[in-house]
């Protein structure tokens, strides 16, 4: 399965309700679908959740989680000290490990199966909140670099949808499933059997922008494919039925 199909499958999965008890189960399915060793989510500042106890969900072995807590690794973990400050997805290979402590931390993580390669994606939300979505593997650096490049958009989208699912599960305002006027317009024309190029011409916009509206609409609806998006939009009365 390629990056796009993976992204679509996981986006669909993340459209449903979440049993908060089953977080790691959901993450495990995400890791398996991506074909990576581990996936983690950390809600650093979430609305309505206590700041003293950040929300953690991970597939990491419990032995590592225990070790991490025991050693207070949150004080030296570069993922926690660097990534929440930026908007850039940050590859672990970009961390400069300056102290023996930091090097030992990474060595231990590798030993305990966390993985030697990884990327952490910062998430910013509409409530000004920050979260982190991390993917890690035991792959070699070169194949990891190629994989991460191909899957970066998928990591961004899937991490963001997981975050929205966590917010929904904690009764923070539900995510916006309302289609914008342009999204509605584009989807209506697609429902009428027009191609992307046709829609672009009809609306007087570029193909790229048309694709963008269709993409954001599809992801809002958690639809697997464009056809699925049209079906969902029609069934929910979000677009008028074609004549």
């Amino acid at each position: 399965m390629g990056a796009i199909e993976t992204m679509n499958e996981l986006t669909e999965m993340l459209g449903g309700p979440l049993d908060v008890e089953d977080c790691s189960g959901v993450l495990r399915r995400m890791a398996d679908t991506f074909g990576v060793a581990h996936v983690s989510y950390l809600g650093i500042t979430l609305p309505r959740l206590s700041r003293e106890k950040p929300f953690v969900a991970t597939t990491y072995p419990s032995a590592w989680v225990d070790r991490y807590m025991d050693q207070n690794y949150f004080t030296i973990d570069p993922v926690l000290n660097v990534v929440p400050r930026t908007i850039l997805p940050t590859d672990w290979s970009s961390f400069r490990l300056r102290t023996a402590q930091e090097r030992r931390f990474f060595a231990e993580a590798k030993l305990m199966g966390v993985g030697s390669q990884g990327v952490s994606v910062p998430i910013r939300g509409r409530f000004g909140e920050t979260a982190l979505f991390t993917v890690s593997t035991q792959e070699n650096p070169k194949s990891w670099a190629a994989f991460a490049r191909e899957y970066m958009a998928a990591f961004q989208i899937v991490g963001f949808h997981f975050h929205e699912m966590i917010l929904r599960a904690h009764d923070v305002a539900p995510e916006n499933t309302r289609l914008s006027p342009r999204e509605r317009e584009c989807l209506t024309w697609i429902a009428a059997g027009k191609s992307t190029e046709d829609v672009a011409t009809i609306l007087g916009i570029s193909a790229h922008t048309t694709k963008q509206y269709l993409e954001t609409a599809r992801l809002k609806l958690h639809a697997l494919t464009r056809t699925h998006a049209v079906a969902l939009a029609l069934s929910r009365g979000l677009i008028p039925p074609p004549e």
């Binding site: 908007i87 961390f95 899957y151 970066m152 961004q156 914008s180 922008t209």
Partner: protein
């Protein structure tokens, strides 16, 4: 060379960040007379203070600031959604982890005066090349930006042609456009060609620390 500095790290680059705010005052308040908030000759707004944007700074070999721009993810507050929603003409502000908003694009007078072999100013080219290179690496689909007619002409020269949303409108007397830019290998290649750039303009993490002061 392009440095990428989150607002949260401003204390590590105090001189450059201060120079950036002073340049923004010079360009947006003094030269362009836009309706911006300045204090002591530094332009800084609530997006700088509350939203932790990412700054792209173009610096020369001696670490002197030549130009800068500011980036915000559209999943959080942006100028387009919070300050200029009327520019969207009834359309909802776009909100996606694959789309960032670029604002406060400016270049020093000294850098702007440099003669270019390609017709596009070197600093402008470097900032645009850095922006799209970074966006591509981050898996983005688009960059969205609000700009005036002068910037619009510069973007044409750079071959960074946007899709324009809605109708340009006068805001505080300034004719303002909203553009949506495709992030792609093609876009990066076109900008590099216009600017005569070959290869990355982004500083490696190790290189950046040399400019900390």
């Amino acid at each position: 060379m392009i440095l990428t500095i989150p607002a949260a790290d401003r204390a590590e680059f105090p001189r450059l960040i201060d120079d950036m705010h002073r340049l923004r005052h010079e360009v947006f308040s003094e030269r362009l007379n836009w309706n911006v908030t300045s204090n002591g000759g530094r332009e800084r707004d609530r997006f700088d203070d509350e939203c932790n944007p990412l700054y792209l700074l173009s610096v020369d070999e001696a670490g002197v600031l030549r130009g800068s721009l500011r980036l915000l993810p559209t999943t959080g507050p942006t100028m387009l959604s919070d300050v200029f929603p009327e520019l969207l003409g009834g359309e909802e502000p776009v909100r996606s982890p694959l789309i960032w908003e670029s604002t406060r694009f400016c270049v020093t007078q000294k850098a702007a005066a440099e003669r270019s072999t390609t017709g596009l100013n070197a600093t402008t080219g470097e900032l645009l090349a850095g922006l799209f290179e970074l966006a591509l690496r981050s898996g983005l689909m688009s960059i969205i930006s609000v700009y005036d007619s002068r910037m619009r002409r510069i973007l044409r020269t750079a071959q960074a042609t946007p899709e324009e949303f809605g109708q340009a409108q006068r805001i505080g007397g300034v004719l303002t456009h909203v553009g949506n830019f495709e992030v792609s290998e093609r876009m990066v290649a076109a900008i590099r060609a216009s600017a005569g750039i070959t290869g990355s303009v982004l500083a490696e993490p190790g290189e950046q620390v040399r400019f900390a002061a």
